[in-house]
């Protein structure tokens, strides 16, 4: 039965090719009649060769001819394709018939034939794999190779159960990785890796062996393709019961690694580790960190192995730190990682660029989680508030819009910090001092330890200033801290994903229904300088800019 399936797969590939050929032929004009004839001849010839092999063992030499044809895909792609299709069909049939199984009880002559056939099979594989390099043939070659793989697994050995042909498969994966065609890998991931759990398992294995074998020889491109491929493998299985979809039926043994979740994970982990051992570029590191918590760490049976990588990244500063944060958090959460001075580090992440970074919303989601505990010391929370308020003075509106509701939530959670909004001088001395000397901000902006910044003694003048922000909605949001705190909490998600573009968009989608107010006085001068009339003052623009009138 599986043989039939394999054959069917091969046939569909063939059919598709034929169909395409037909299309091409149709498109051709009659001036190409010769070529047409040639194609016809070729096709007829290959078919003839194929049928002859089927008919009797005498014509086994035709296989060699076909292999030759298939190898020459660089010169005659069509012939190579037809030949390889024919070869696949032949081999699938032969395999099904058991002609390639080495048996001890056969005559020497037959054993020779068998080994000869096996060699030809190897040749055929080689031809198929080399086709991965060609843009035209790669996709069908992949299908053929996989069909052949299946047939081999089932019939190459004389055992009852199918044996996964690892070497052939790792060759396939290696050729895939080396192939310049990205679509091919996509096709592979889509049709096989995502579909069949055993293929995924062996893919991880193949990638690991590939990387470990040529540790030094792996160049940048391969690294990227491996990375992309690994990234594209998603859907971490939840339990061993989920492992049901197999391309090739695994042995019935309960303990077989294919049936164990931890083995799957282990393979994936090893593949990832092998990749990471190669040393990642900054961009790659960003990418890895980006998907760390979501799709890499779950593959790891021992996420502790990622610890060094993550802490290194976290300590390196900049956007890498930001990205590593979620990975570190994953470890803290799942693996009880003890990260000394975590909050100090977190505090140091709040630098001038954080509110302008494109990972802002991601960071805020995490920050909200980290500062979500009501057991944190108020001094620490106050430091974070004050530091962000300082940053808000130079922040885009979309960031201010997040910060202020978040402050609100923190104030609600840590009532001690509300002194930052409302601090009435108690004694007369205090008041006199204020009258005579004013007030220096007690906050120490350069202090690294959030417990020592004295932010709790300070006030949020910054947010009060933002209440007169140029954008009306931002100003209104900033006003929430000076109104009564009647709301339980603001949902941060409502404020996170804004940008200049979305704000302008929001303004622009409003229809102009009411006539807008027009300045009642038409200004005398816009671009030109005022004359010698004394009461007219030049606008700032005219003063500072040269419009060619002076």
């Amino acid at each position: 039965m599986p043989a039939a399936v394999g054959e069917a797969a091969a046939k569909t590939a063939v059919k598709r090719k034929r169909h395409e050929n037909g299309d091409i032929i149709k498109k051709r004009t009659k001036s190409d009649a010769n070529a047409h004839d040639k194609d016809g001849n070729l096709k007829a010839r290959i078919e003839k060769l194929e049928t002859e092999v089927q008919e009797s063992k005498k014509h086994y030499n035709n296989i060699a001819t076909l292999v030759e044809l298939a190898r020459k895909h660089g010169t005659d792609a069509k012939a190579a394709l037809l030949a390889s299709e024919a070869l696949c069909r032949i081999f699938i049939r032969l395999l099904a018939a058991g002609n390639l199984v080495k048996r001890k009880d056969v005559s020497e002559k037959e054993a020779t034939v068998t080994s000869w056939l096996r060699d030809r099979l190897a040749d055929c594989r080689g031809a198929l794999l080399s086709m991965f390099q060609s843009k035209k043939l790669a996709s069908s070659a992949l299908m053929l190779a996989m069909a052949l793989l299946k047939a081999e697994a089932q019939h190459l050995s004389d055992r009852e159960e199918a044996v996964f042909p690892r070497y052939f498969f790792s060759d396939i994966v290696a050729s895939l990785l080396e192939s310049p065609i990205g679509q091919l890998r996509e096709q592979f991931s889509e049709k096989f890796v995502d579909e069949y759990h055993d293929i995924r398992f062996y893919t991880f294995e193949a990638i690991r062996t590939y990387l470990t074998e040529r540790e030094d020889a792996v160049d940048e491109d391969i690294q990227i393709t491996v990375f992309d491929m690994l990234i594209s493998i998603e859907n971490v299985p939840e339990s061993s019961e989920d492992l049901t979809d197999f391309y090739i039926e695994p042995p019935q043994k309960k303990k077989h690694p294919l049936r164990s979740l931890s083995q799957h994970k282990k393979q994936a982990q090893q593949a990832w580790l092998a990749l990471m051992h190669l040393g990642l570029s900054k961009e790659q590191r960003k990418k890895v960190l980006d998907v760390m918590a979501a799709s890499i760490a779950p593959w790891f049976t021992q996420p502790e192995l990622l610890m060094d990588f993550l802490t290194d990244c976290y300590n390196s500063g900049g956007s890498i730190s930001l990205l590593a944060l979620s990975g570190v958090f994953y470890l803290i959460q799942e693996r009880n990682l003890d990260y000394p001075e975590f909050y100090t580090k977190l505090y140091s992440l709040l630098d001038a660029d954080i509110l302008h970074s494109k990972y802002r919303s991601r960071f805020f989601r995490l920050l909200d989680t980290f500062l979500g505990s009501s057991h944190l010391p108020a001094v620490l929370v106050a430091s974070f508030i004050k530091r962000l308020a300082r940053l808000a003075l130079n922040a885009p509106p979309s960031a201010i819009v997040v910060i202020v509701p978040w402050f609100y939530n923190l104030f609600k959670r840590h009532p001690l910090t509300t002194f930052m909004m409302h601090r009435v001088p108690r004694t007369k001395e205090e008041r006199d001092l204020l009258e005579s000397e004013g007030l220096e901000d007690p906050f120490l902006p350069d202090e690294r330890d959030p417990m020592e910044t004295r932010a709790i003694d300070s006030c949020l003048w910054e947010i009060v200033q933002l209440q007169s922000h140029y954008h009306p909605n931002v100003a209104t949001i900033a006003k929430i801290i000076s109104e009564q705190f009647t709301k339980q909490a603001y949902s941060l998600e409502d404020f996170l994903d804004h940008s200049y573009g979305s704000l302008i968009e929001a303004e622009m989608t409003k229809e102009v229904k009411k006539p807008p107010v027009v300045e009642y006085m038409i200004p005398k001068r816009i671009f030109t300088k005022a004359g010698p009339v004394p009461e007219e003052n030049d606008s700032l623009l005219v003063n500072l800019w040269d419009f060619g009138s002076s």
Binding site: A352, A392, H422, H471, P472, V518, I522, L541, L544
Partner: protein
């Protein structure tokens, strides 16, 4: 009243005066005379009889057997208490029902299974004597009469409606009005009244009266002061009487006036003479003669004629209208200043983001509507669990790369339609537009005080003569050109391509002239369509400004200024259109080149700042424009000097936008400080503040500019240049640095009142100081350094001041919030019959259901009664038939018997005769 029925009957008859002791002859005569005076005596008698009859029939009323259950006080009139006690009149109701059935159901029954037809009730249809015309005329008059009768029933002003008001066919006010006052409404009861053909109603009324009388009697006994509630009829009659009285009074007054007038007429000649003598000085020769003639009154006819003519003249004279008092200069100035003050106040209001009450109400209504689903009347009290609208702050939907919770269907916050205006709107636009119209009319009036109004723009062209000139009314007629080669007439451009076509061959600097002419030619006063055309034209003009800005030449700026002012002036008439044009431009700009603004964009942004009030809390055009500016300043990472120059221009513009309202623009600080850091000859060693620093592209830092003179930036600096000569580059860099310094200085002055001024400008101080330090200052021209130092000292001084005036925040001096109460709501005037269902729909449904049930029951009862009636009728008919049959049968039997008897008799007689004959024969 004890005693037998008979005794009681007698007593009551006596009480009513129907029977009594025998009267003497004298008494009888007296009675008869009285009866003549009061013709209704007999009627009263009949009524009394009927009431007595009713009193003695205990089955006539259905009452509470034991009287009212509880003694209650109500606001219903006390004399209705008797009426309240009577629950129904079964006999009466039954009779009525029976009667009605007889009229309807019985007729139907009788007509059943019979072929029917129409009864032609039209007038004179069967009358052969009448001609067609006569018939028609008669019908028409009848119809008219019918209609008239209805309309003039209560027409008080009608002179003689139907020959005077009547009641029950009798005139209300006869000649002897004073003798017969308004009659009691029940007097005419026994007269046949048109609408009350069935006696039952009359009966009921009679009963009512009786009761009333009884009650009144009781009351009289109690307090001796009867206070009967007036019936509707009485009230109407009173009203009618009053109106008649007033009418009569009016007539009398008129008559009096007439008399007086006649008297005056008599005295007219004398008066006139006096008047004319007073008016005309005696020096004139004609008039004295005339007056003398008048005085003497010799030629009567001539005088009359003269008088008539004068009267006619007076009538024909235009009536004097009260003219607006000419205002003095002070008054005008005062008014103007008042107007300006008002406008300024409005501006301040908008700046604070306060809405007008009307708007607010509207918004609240909208909010109410959108919240309608919630339904709960939670008032102002705060509900902590009430979910807030998602877009409470009008931020829009945010960046769309993740599906929001709502989209995933987690919560139903869709219920709250986003009311963007909750926060963001709040401009008193409607009021404004009214004002604007007012202004408009002012302008159109006697030319307003601003030289900058409409008149200025169309001045010199739109004269009376020109308007009348047919040449100006037609579009393509006679294209005369003036000395600059600009035609006098243009088609009104409706698209920018049109505009370009029209302006082809006209020098750009002369464009305002063309625009002025177009505006004059298509002045809305001239044609009704011009308003539309000009609205389009104003949009085209905005496009043209951007177009010219993109291809600018330095000497075009006066032109652009003039065009902007034209747009501004047009915006007063077409605010929506102009705003839309600007918004379209901003939108296009933001979608296509948010970080690569052209000079045209800069000019448009400047024009927006000049046209619309930039101080408003929210403005449909200014807010997006400001966002666009901020976006460039905040997001652009400058690559070349032109980017820095553009940013500098936008910084100036942003600052100018906020000149009045003094709102803070973080992006401006970021850009200025970053630019200064980038231009600084040396990179600062440590961080100077929390603003983001972008490493400048190579060749941006100022090197060796110590000899360069400072120039001003101009628009050509904003354009991408292929190559700048090193000198030009350095001079441009120095210009940018110097301008930025100036901007920072202006910014300190604008924002020095802000609460975090110290935090905001301390980095600026550091950056400026960094520029003046040794390794940097050697590269900079001395003039710039001195400018920097000046700015530093200003900032330092203001920072010191800010520190001195800083106080701890005290934001929360709020009134403590009341704890929400959960006391149940009590109804002050609770009525158990009423339903207090807070769910309105449910209450209405219950009401409908109850009504349906009642109706159903009623209908069932009616049907049952109908069936009984039919049964009864059928039985009656059957009985009649049977009786008839019986009668006939009996008659026949009797007939036969009679005949038989006769025959038997005859036989017997014959027999007897034969016997006798036989006996004789024997």
């Amino acid at each position: 009243m004890a005693g037998s029925q008979l005794k009681r009957l007698k007593a009551s008859l006596r009480e009513q005066g129907i029977i009594g002791p025998q009267k003497s002859k004298k008494q009888k005569r007296q009675n008869a005379e009285e009866q003549k005076a009061r013709p209704d005596k007999r009627l009263q008698r009949g009524e009394a009889l009927a009431s007595i009859r009713e009193q003695f029939n205990p089955f006539q009323f259905k009452t509470n057997a034991r009287g009212p259950k509880f003694e209650v006080t109500t606001n219903k009139p006390t004399n209705d208490r008797a009426a309240m006690a009577i629950k129904g009149r079964p006999g009466l109701a039954k009779a009525m029902g029976e009667e009605r059935r007889r009229q309807t159901l019985l007729v139907e029954m009788q007509r059943r299974n019979k072929v029917g037809g129409l009864i032609d009730r039209r007038f004179g249809e069967d009358d052969a004597n009448l001609s067609l015309e006569d018939k028609m005329i008669e019908r028409y008059t009848r119809e008219q009469q019918r209609a008239h009768k209805k309309s003039s029933m209560f027409d008080l002003e009608d002179d003689e409606p139907m020959g005077g008001l009547t009641h029950m066919g009798r005139p209300l006010f006869d000649g002897d009005e004073d003798e017969a006052p308004v009659k009691d409404d029940f007097d005419g009861e026994e007269l046949p009244s048109g609408d009350e053909s069935d006696s039952s109603r009359a009966e009921r009324r009679r009963l009512k009266r009786q009761r009333l009388e009884g009650a009144a009697g009781e009351q009289e006994e109690e307090n001796g002061q009867p206070e009967r509630k007036k019936t509707k009829k009485e009230i109407y009659e009173e009203v009618i009487a009053k109106s008649k009285l007033y009418k009569y009074e009016r007539q009398a007054a008129k008559e009096e006036d007439n008399e007086l007038r006649a008297e005056l007429d008599q005295a007219m000649p004398e008066l006139q003479a006096l008047l004319f003598q007073r008016q005309k000085p005696p020096s004139k020769d004609e008039k004295p003669a005339e007056t003398a003639m008048v005085i003497t009154g010799k030629d009567k006819a001539a005088v009359d004629k003269e008088y008539d003519i004068r009267v006619k003249q007076l009538a024909a004279d235009k009536r004097a209208q009260p003219a607006e008092r000419t205002k003095t200069e002070e008054e005008k100035a005062e008014e103007e200043s008042k107007r300006l003050k008002e406008l300024e106040e409005k501006r301040l209001k908008r700046m604070r983001g306060e809405m007008d009450e009307e708007d607010e109400e509207e918004d609240e209504q909208e909010e109410g509507k959108s919240k309608g689903g919630k339904g709960a009347a939670d008032g102002d009290a705060y509900d902590p669990f009430q979910t807030e609208e998602v877009d409470e702050f009008g931020l829009g939907k945010g960046v769309k790369y993740r599906p929001t919770a709502t989209e995933l269907g987690f919560d139903d916050e869709d219920d709250f339609l986003i009311d963007d205006d909750l926060v963001a709107s709040g401009s008193d636009l409607e009021l404004e537009s009214d004002d604007m119209e007012g202004e408009e009319s002012d302008e159109e009036g006697a030319g307003s005080q601003f030289g900058s109004d409409d008149d200025e723009f169309v001045k010199g062209i739109l004269t009376e003569a020109v308007i009348k000139d047919p040449v100006f009314q037609t579009d393509d007629n006679a294209k005369g050109d003036d000395e600059h080669g600009i035609p006098y007439t243009f088609p009104c451009p409706q698209s920018h391509d049109d505009m370009l076509k029209i302006l082809e061959g006209i020098d750009v600097t002369k464009t305002p002239v063309a625009v002025q002419r177009i505006r004059a030619l298509y002045h809305p006063k001239l044609d009704s369509k011009n308003k539309e055309r000009l609205a389009k034209f104003s949009q085209v003009l905005v496009q043209h400004i951007a177009y010219l800005g993109d291809r600018f030449e330095p000497h075009w700026f006066p032109t652009l200024e003039s065009l902007s002012r034209h747009v501004h002036s047009l915006a007063k008439s077409f605010p929506i259109e102009v705003a839309k044009a600007y918004r379209t431009h901003i939108q296009e700009m933001e979608q296509e080149r948010p970080l690569a603004l052209t000079v045209g964009d800069l000019v448009i942004l400047t024009a927006i700042g000049a046209t619309f009030p930039t101080s408003d809390h929210f403005h449909q055009v200014v807010t997006p424009a400001m966002l666009a500016i901020a976006r460039y300043l905040g997001q652009k990472i400058p690559q070349g000097l032109c980017d820095y120059a553009t940013g500098t221009y936008l910084s100036i513009l942003a600052l100018q936008y906020q000149q009045f309202s003094k709102r803070y623009v973080p992006e401006l600080m970021n850009f200025c400080l970053n630019t200064l850091c980038s231009l600084a000859p040396e990179k600062p060693q440590e961080k100077l503040g929390f603003f983001p620093v972008h490493e400048p592209a190579p060749g941006i830092r100022i090197r060796g500019a110590d000899k360069t003179t400072i120039r001003q930036l101009n628009c050509s600096d904003c354009q991408q240049k292929q190559s700048l000569s090193p000198e030009d580059g350095v001079s441009l860099k120095v210009a940018i640095a110097s301008t930025i310094t100036a901007i920072l200085k202006a910014a300190t002055e604008t924002w020095h009142k802000l609460s975090a001024f110290h935090e905001t400008f301390h980095p600026a101080l550091l950056v400026l100081q960094h520029l003046t330090f040794k390794p940097n200052s050697t590269h900079l021209p001395a003039a710039l350094t001195s400018k920097l130092i000046g700015t530093i000292s200003t900032i330092a001084r203001l920072l010191q001041l800010a520190r001195l005036f800083r106080r701890p925040l005290e934001l929360h001096h709020h009134r403590p919030l009341a704890i929400r109460t959960y006391v149940p709501k009590f109804e002050d005037s609770f009525d158990p019959d009423k339903h207090y269902d807070p769910d309105r729909e449910r209450a209405e449904l219950a009401k409908l259901k109850a009504e349906h049930k009642r109706e159903r029951k009623g209908a069932l009862r009616e049907l049952r009664k109908d069936a009984a009636f039919m049964q009864r009728e059928n039985l009656r008919i059957k009985k009649e038939r049977d009786a008839a049959y019986e009668k006939k049968y009996k008659r026949l039997v009797a007939e036969i018997q009679g005949e038989e008897g006769r025959a038997a008799n005859e036989y017997a007689r014959e027999k007897e005769a034969r016997k006798r004959k036989a006996a004789k024969g024997r």
